[in-house]
């Protein structure tokens, strides 16, 4: 086995690898979402979730549908939406922070209807 073969073996990334990566990312995101009380962290976890989705999109697009760029386009859309969401979320957080100097979700329980 020469080094080329080894390289090919190492870098021969199959669809399964991408899916596993996406799964790991998704689980990290969910875990962060569930266990963190800090709103910033929650937002970050959501970003991670979205990147997991993006990975899936691009991977599937790459392996199944090479002529169109639907998956990639979706990923870009999601990035844009994620950016907007992050901006909005942070803005809301700032507004809340002005009322109550805390970033703990427990502290904002009274907001529920």
């Amino acid at each position: 086995m020469n080094w080329e073969e080894i390289l090919i073996k190492i870098f021969n990334v199959e669809l399964t690898h991408y899916i596993v990566l996406s799964l790991i990312l998704f689980c990290i995101g969910i875990m962060g979402l569930i266990i963190s009380r800090n709103v910033i962290r929650v937002l970050m976890s959501i970003e991670i979730l979205l990147s997991a989705v993006n990975v899936n999109f691009v991977a599937f697009a790459n392996y199944t549908d090479l002529s169109d760029l639907k998956g990639q386009v979706f990923a870009i859309f999601i990035m844009a939406v994620a950016a907007a969401e992050a901006a909005l979320g942070l803005a809301i957080l700032l507004a809340l922070y002005r009322n109550k100097p805390s970033v703990d979700t427990e502290e904002y329980k009274e907001l529920k209807g």
Binding site: I30, L33, I34, I35, V42, T105, K109, K112, G113
Partner: protein, 651 residues
Amino acid sequence: MEQFLEFFIENAGIIAALPLWTFLIIIFGQNLGVYDDKRITAGITCTSTFIGLIWSFFIFLWTLGAQEPFSKNITWLSAGNIELSAGWLVDNLGAMMLLVVTGVSLLIQVYSHGYMAKDPGYHRFFSYLNFFNFSMLGLVLSSNLFQIYIFWELVGLSSYLLIGFWFRRPSAAHAATKAFIINRIGDFGLLVGIIAFLFFSLNWWIASGNIYLSFTELQPAAEYVLTSAGPVVYFLIALAIFFGPIAKSAQFPLHTWLPDAMEGPTPISALIHAATMVAAGVFLIARAYPIFEISPDIMTTIAWIGAITAFITATIAITQYDLKKTLAYSTCSQLGFMVMAMGAGAYAAGLFHLMTHAFFKAMLFLCSGAVIHGLGDQQNMKYMGGLRKHMPVVAYTYLTGCFAISGILFSGFWSKEEIFSGLYGNNMILLGVGLIVALLTSFYMFRSYFLTFEGEYRGHAHPHDAPKVMTVPLILLAIPSTFIGFLLSGVLFLPSFDKYILAGQKAITHAEHHTGFLLPVISLLIALAGLLAAAYLYWDRFKQVRESVKITADNIIRITKPLYALTTNLWYIDKLYYAFIDNVFLPVCNFTANFDKFIIDGLVNLTGLKIRFEGWTLRQFQTGQVQTYLAILFSGLAGLALIFVLLQLLI
């Protein structure tokens, strides 16, 4: 002449309609401010009653020559197989009652003009009076059992209104309510009886095509019911119908309303609670006689109820010190007499007593009214005495009444004698009760006379004589009270009352008459004994004798203490009723109300509460924390995935 009289018969309903019109005229005239003169009210009232009297007289003339009763009906209410009619029936019995009612009413209306002159509710009083006349005349003219029920309740209403005439007095308000409710108990029985009777005879009425429950056809219908329902059920039906008279004619055990009814103005006591309305019960028994007649059991029951009433109320009357109450209990007792006579089969005698009683009892009440009026609303006989000097006319008419009611030669003698002879042929025990009651009657009536009019005046007010407008009716009533019994007893050449009243009634069995001299003499002697006893105990002339022999009223009371307590406490009947109401009836009502409020409504609210609890339980998962939801969501997902995988592995 025939056709002239026919006109009055054809339009007999006018007699009842006249007071109704007067009633409406007074009501609208007063409330719309058309007039304010008391004389107009009295004038139209008396005129209408007078026209009624004349009309009744013509009807009476017609009945003398008539063979068949006249009746005229319209359908009042019909649905399916039920067809109820209203109309009028004119026969001898009705004509007699018409004359009595309009005659007594007229005199009492004249009297009331004087008695109520200073009362602010003068017009109201007269409108009530007219309403009563309407209902009573309607009752008398009723052509069938259903219609008589309508007017039966309406006379109850007018009695209610008039007892509660001075409704500001709590006692009057209470008495009025009591009278209506007790009468309602009787109405309940009457209604059940009528409906049950109709139920069992429905096929008969449909087959015969007669007006339902018509009085003229009652006898064949009753026989049909007897065969179709059997004697036991028939007895119950007749008993239910008899409930009506028990309440209306104040018979034991529903007699307690009548003495309380004396809260009304005295003319009302005279007209309604002595002369006419309370006699409606006896009238109904007479009207529905075919129903009672064919069942010996119910006849016996009626007779005994009458006897018990006559005896109990007579004993109560002995110890009363309230003048009006004495008269009220006396009325109960005399009504018991009439009912007893009816039950014993002395149909004509009972009605004869009804008529004579109407005159003299009305007069006695009006006399008591004059006394009360003259003494400034004093009713207690302890504060009367010696009033003969102050109001001679009243005293002498009262004395006439006492003689009449006690059965000493005046009209009461003749009617009572007939009852006695009827009882003699029927039931000797009842005759004994009757004679004892006659003794008691004579005693308490003369007791009241001596306490009121003889001796020294014991009160503080200044007695003044009654005005002419009040004494003239007294004198006019004294005339029939004295003579009518003798005139109509059949001794004279005049037509006998018995023959007249029985003329149209084919069915009614004639009570046997033993017109020996023994019975009248005995009854006369008994009445005289009562008179002498009363005179001895209560007349001041015998004071010396009394005190020398040491037998005075007080001593007797001391000796017979338990008996005395029994009668002064009205045999504890009223107390028993109140105890029942307070300790059983109202607690049951309250219990039911609470049961409804807490148990039934509680169950409903419990259902609501249960649902709320379930909602609360579910709400615990709804924390509002997205993270919790996520945790649940994904653990669920993980769980599902695990199951899926396990399933894959297993299969």
